[in-house]
């Protein structure tokens, strides 16, 4: 395996691990609440909405970019 290939693999691994970590960040509090029987707070809902807004914007930008690049010139 060449150094470049190793570097690319590490980059992919890190990117996907970060996404998995972010997903776990949202899952773990839910698991804790289910075990504790606690209720979600408005602050937690607001945090979910804020994270969602960032993700929505990035996803929309990606879709728009791909749509434009897929159109025949």
């Amino acid at each position: 395996m060449t150094p470049i290939a190793t570097l690319l693999f590490v980059e992919k691994f890190v990117t996907l691990t970060i996404v998995a970590g972010q997903a776990l960040d949202t899952i773990v509090p839910q698991i804790r609440r289910l075990i504790d029987g606690g209720q979600i707070t408005q602050d937690e809902v607001d945090a979910i909405i804020a994270a969602a807004a960032v993700s929505d914007q990035r996803f929309d930008d990606l879709l728009e970019r791909l749509k434009q690049s897929s159109q025949p010139t």
Binding site: L16, Q39, F59
Partner: protein, 168 residues
């Protein structure tokens, strides 16, 4: 062989986690879903590592593209199913949609899925997002309309998960 091993491990991990959840005081039908969700995360992480090592050994050191995080989406969906209050269920559903977007973007960024795949999956996610956002004004009281929107969101995300698995 590898898939069978993973299933076998998953079964024991799920059984163990159900016992732990029960010991910690979780009650009712949700305990099984909760254990399954946690088990899925643990097994997907272990499966991911094993997958890479086996592939590398079988292919003389050639690395395979890592493509397992999509399974995290399944854990989010399971958690959405075992949340109790409308606010909890909405939060779980919205988190699932966000995770679907993030996983799709990461898989695209790492070239696991193509531009065409994203363009095919994208409309499903946008529809799911519209449904869960439309349910937000009903978060305090819940009701049949709220339930219907979340159920439809869940169905669409299941479709997204299937699509992601097929395109990997």
């Amino acid at each position: 062989m590898k898939a069978r091993l993973t299933q076998l491990v998953a079964r024991y991990v799920a059984a163990g986690l159900t016992a732990v959840a029960g010991w910690l005081g979780a009650e009712g039908a949700a305990t099984g879903d909760l254990a399954a969700a946690v088990a899925l995360v643990v097994v997907s992480a272990a499966g991911f590592a094993a997958d890479l090592l086996i592939h590398r050994k079988n292919n003389g050191g050639v690395m395979k593209t890592p493509a397992k995080p999509a399974i995290i989406l399944a854990a989010c969906l399971l958690l959405a199913g075992c949340s109790s209050t409308p606010a909890e269920r909405w939060a779980a559903a919205r988190s699932s949609v966000t995770t679907a977007q993030d996983v799709t973007m990461a898989l695209h960024e790492t070239e696991v899925i193509s531009d065409e795949d994203v363009l095919a999956i994208g409309p499903y996610i946008v529809t799911a997002r519209g449904l869960v956002n439309a349910a937000y004004p009903l978060i305090d009281e819940g009701g049949p309309e709220f339930d219907a929107k979340l159920a439809e969101t869940r169905d669409i995300l299941k479709k997204v998960r299937t699509e992601l698995k097929e395109h990997q």
